[in-house]
Amino acid sequence: MTPIASLNGVSKRYGALTAAENIDLELRGGETAALVGHNGAGKTTLIKLILGLVSPSSGRVDVLGCDPASSRGAALRERLGFLPENVAFHGAMTGRELLGFYARLKRRGGTEVDGLLRRVGLAEAAGRRVSTFSKGMRQRLGLAQALIGKPELLLLDEPTSGLDPASRADFYRTVDDLRAEGATVLISTHALAEIESHADRIAVLHRGRLVALGGMNELRLAAALPVRLRFTVTPCGTGRLLERLGASVEIFERSERRLEIGCPAAEKTKMLRRLGDLWQLIGDVEVKTPGLPEIYSRLVDREEAR
């Protein structure tokens, strides 16, 4: 598939600070990708590079076939949508006026504005000054602004920070709709557990470096985290279970009635098969595959240790 945007060996330095170092990243058409990393890992810098707000110190950025920091960048941005972190607006204007202004900048008519306001659930509040808006309403206005003109590539910087659970759910529903419509979406976020099920691929950034990139399965392999098996057993059965499983398993919890062990993801079924006739000792078994939060901290720890 042709990439919508690509970064080739991109570095960005601000004086002595290196915000991004030798990054290779491609965004494929139609995918939802997530940028995860701690504060200052370079997520916003990457988004700014794609928008052409900053130019790379070295390397090449290519978005929809041209360099966004060049003079052609302005025309290119007509096809992009952007929701900044902590989106802010001129408080004296109403939601409809502001959306109209951004629509005019994108050469779009006012008819689209009302539809977008309805889509993000701001139709009733559209005539009010933005200074009276709550944080969630402002964020939704920001999202409506990003959606003007059906952008081919959407860049959402920390879109769910500070939102209540209901607004978050609304937000992810919109993202899933956009994916169904064929838009390419890049979301930067700290909300690791949330993004897991909405992103096709995840890029892990740490101190300006791309530590890992791929779908959840690939990241799981890269992190080589054990799958955890949690057994509830009849009293005093844990010893016999362990004997059978072999000495090599990692033990996370052991008590009279509970046993939690870790094993490589690939050996999960082999382990269970090995138990054989000991199944009668087991009341319940729980299989816990590591989620993005665990994978992320493993990858970052490993990067730190380097």
Binding site: A75, L80, P84, A88, E97, G142
Partner: protein, 279 residues
């Protein structure tokens, strides 16, 4: 260019919403009215050209007021958006950097033009309609209106430049105040001091002309107080070169050109600096 006009339109809309336009228009109209009413008292009505007196008093007032209004409008242009966090959103839209600077400048210039033309013009129109009988030098008055907007534009450009070079709104405000103090108050005092101390040894008429052009407020003053014969009578001023045998190059077109340059050069600088800014 289209995006610049969209931004200018938004600036005007904001100016209407936060009452800037109404407030400045009313202020200028009130001052114009009171100066016209008071200004005609000492001269009486016999033989005097009331409109010329209005031009003298209004332009003296404009020199202080319009630069201040212009700087207050423009110092915030870029750095304010940056501090509010709206600049990055604006630049993520299909606009070039120069269009942001040009759009802000055009919008502010339109606000100033509306306030000046409606404020001053409206006041005088009201007076002449109510039978004040303002006969006289309307071309000089029109030239004052136009050059006032140009003076405002020069200070808008300076304010915009201040707004682009610094990272904090408070610093830009400080620079704006300093610009106003230097050009409107201190420059003339310093120039006068130098002239007195120098006694014409180094600062000849040519150098003096150049020094006067180096301040947009002086260029504006000379343009309005010496530009028309009927006005210069009441201004009690003659052009700086008139005492000598026609040595001055400060013709009205030259003064206007100086004002235009004072708007164009800072604006071009601001555009160039902003274009290279990494956000």
């Amino acid at each position: 260019m289209r995006a610049a006009f969209v931004i200018a339109g938004q600036e005007i809309r904001v100016g209407l919403r936060n009452r800037w336009i109404v407030a400045t228009t009313l202020l200028l109209a009130a001052l114009a009215l009171s100066l016209t009413l008071l200004g005609s008292a000492p001269s009486g009505t016999l033989g005097a050209d009331p409109l010329a007196i209005v031009v003298v008093s209004l332009s003296s007032l404009t020199i202080f007021l319009l630069p201040l209004i212009a700087l207050l409008l423009s110092f915030d242009a870029v750095v304010g958006e940056q501090e509010r966090g709206t600049l990055i959103l604006l630049l993520a839209h299909p606009v070039a950097r120069w269009q942001v600077v040009a759009g802000k400048f055009l919008g502010h210039a339109a606000i100033l033009a509306i306030a000046t033309v409606v404020g001053y013009g409206g006041a005088l129109a009201a007076l002449s309609l109510s039978g004040g009988g303002l006969e006289g030098d309307w071309p000089a008055f029109a030239a004052m209106l136009g050059s006032s907007v140009l003076l405002g534009a020069a200070f808008l450009a300076l304010g915009t430049l201040a707004s682009v070079v610094v990272r904090e709104r408070a610093t830009a405000a400080g620079i704006a105040v300093a610009v106003w103090l230097v050009f409107v108050l201190l420059y003339d005092m310093a120039l006068l001091g130098i002239l007195v101390a120098d006694q014409g040894r180094i600062v000849g008429p040519g150098l003096l002309d150049a020094l006067l052009l180096l301040n947009p407020a002086d260029a504006y003053r000379l343009f309005n107080l010496t530009g028309s014969d009927s006005v210069s009578v009441y201004a009690g001023m003659s052009g700086p070169g008139e005492s000598g045998p026609g040595t001055s190059g400060l013709t009205p077109p030259a003064l206007l050109a100086a004002l235009v340059a004072w708007a164009a050069v800072p604006l071009a600088l601001a555009t160039a600096i902003f274009a290279r800014r990494q956000l």
